[in-house]
């Protein structure tokens, strides 16, 4: 455990993530089986002070860059998909807040508080009646005596019941268009969050993401100054796809590790009986994984450069982020399927050192977290603008 005020370098944060991963591994089966919030694993991340990874150093965080966050997401994904996804979604909220902190003393102060207290921040971007579109809201901020009122019916709120605060999308005022959105910080103490749905899913069960209704009253200063469209384009969309992809490659890498361990045991037996070890499947699974890992790293590096250039072309980064998301989400699932074929029944089993059952179930969520078909559709339209993105 590190001293409260110490800034972790990436190398130190990675070591901390590896230590925390042991706790994730230990609790992963129960988290998954009981669809329970991973309280101990998150406490371990908090104890390692990894909840403030994405907060800039000036606000008391570790100031890690997007590519570094993606690498940590992969480390954690190798231990427990649900916990890693909670961590990744939380970092995303912090990054959105960090972008606003320079022009908002209120939000800067909140980030300092969140770093010091290792707060967990959740997202309330989903809403009933908008067809899954991130860029449309029905609910609106309603001015009320210098403060703002907000009522929202969200279709999924991950770890909402365990969060210290929320970032919520809403129309900027009661007469605003559905796409005239803002992002507003709501502290748990300023909100009434009521669970309105169940969370009993195929995978990612520990993210605890049922429907909720949220009702809140917040000071106007808690609204992020930039329009949500800008935050979404520059930060939320590309960074979420990067960090999720990090988690997914981490899950797939763990499945390949399990397949390698299984193959090693089998090769030992084959050698004993004089048989030739000539199974190409592990090599193929690794090749598929490696391409995905390298794609995530390359996009991470490029997006990190993008964030330093205020005038950079946002269309190119959007198209690439969407492509990364759709290809890594389906590719990682295929990698785990390859691992399943290597491990056979030991892989199909829900327990044991060579099980990849949870990995498979968790990764089926990947194509749905912002549906791939929606992203492919967006890209198909954006690519009509011209071919410069294709060659880049």
């Amino acid at each position: 455990m590190t001293a409260p005020d110490r800034v972790l370098s990436f190398a130190e944060a990675r070591e901390a993530a590896l230590r925390a991963r042991a706790v994730l591994v230990e609790h992963a089966p129960a988290t998954d089986r009981d669809a329970a919030f991973p309280a101990e694993p998150v406490a371990a991340l908090r104890a390692e002070r990894l909840l403030s990874a994405a907060v800039p150093k000036e606000y008391g965080g570790h100031g890690l860059a997007p590519d570094e966050l993606a690498a940590l997401a992969a480390v954690l994904g190798g231990g427990c998909g649900s916990t890693a996804m909670v961590w990744a979604m939380h970092q995303l909220q912090l990054a959105c807040l960090a972008g606003a902190a320079a022009t908002s003393p209120e939000l800067a102060a909140y980030l300092r508080e969140a770093s010091a207290g290792q707060f967990l921040v959740a997202s309330v971007t989903s809403e009933a009646g908008v067809g899954g579109s991130l860029r449309e809201s029905r609910c609106a901020l309603v001015p009320d005596g210098g403060e703002l009122l907000l009522e929202k019916e969200a279709t999924t709120v991950s770890y909402g019941a365990y969060a210290d605060a929320f970032l919520v999308t809403a129309r900027s005022r009661p007469d605003a268009a559905p796409t005239d959105q803002v992002l507003v910080l709501v502290r748990a103490g300023q909100a009434r969050l009521t669970r309105t749905g169940e969370w009993d899913t195929l995978g990612m069960r520990g993210t605890c993401s049922p429907a909720h209704s949220l009702s809140a009253r917040v000071p106007a200063a808690q609204v992020l100054p930039a329009p949500f469209g800008e935050i979404a384009t520059r930060c939320m969309v590309p960074l979420s796809h990067l960090l999720w992809a990090g988690v997914w490659t981490g899950i797939a890498a763990d499945a390949v590790r399990r397949a390698a361990s299984f193959a090693r045991a089998r090769a030992r037996a084959q050698l004993r009986s004089g048989a030739v070890v000539d199974d190409p499947r592990l090599g193929r699974a690794y090749a598929s994984l490696r391409v995905l890992q390298d794609s995530v790293r390359q996009f991470g590096a490029d997006y990190t450069r993008f964030t330093a250039e205020p005038d950079a072309d946002t269309t190119a980064i959007t198209v690439r982020a969407n492509a990364l998301k759709t290809s890594v989400s389906t590719g990682c699932l295929r990698v785990v399927e390859q691992a399943l074929e290597i491990c056979g029944m030991a892989g199909y089993s829900e327990s044991g050192p060579h099980s990849v059952a949870r990995h498979l179930r968790d990764l089926h969520s990947a194509r749905l977290m912002i549906a791939n078909s929606r992203l492919d559709q967006s890209n198909s339209q954006l690519l009509l603008l011209g071919g410069s993105v294709i060659d880049a």
Binding site: A267, R268, A269, R272
Partner: protein
Amino acid sequence: MNDTARQYDAVIREALVTHSDLGDTARELDRDADLYAIGLTSLHSVRVLLSVEDALGVEIPEQHVGRALFSSIGHFADVLLDIAGTTTGAAR
């Protein structure tokens, strides 16, 4: 060299005889001879590793597995002694 060390030494040499191109010369090699320098390939080294694991009924932890493990028969045996020491040492 105690009995365990002698046993490990012999198991490694037998694995090299059976699973590498070094053949019978592996029985006479100096304990500190660089195995790669005299022709051990990485593909053969994997088979040697698996065969040693099988013969001793152990699994060498990932962090010990790598090119360095095969730098010499003596080094490989020392790693095996280390592993045996950490897994069963407390009971002795």
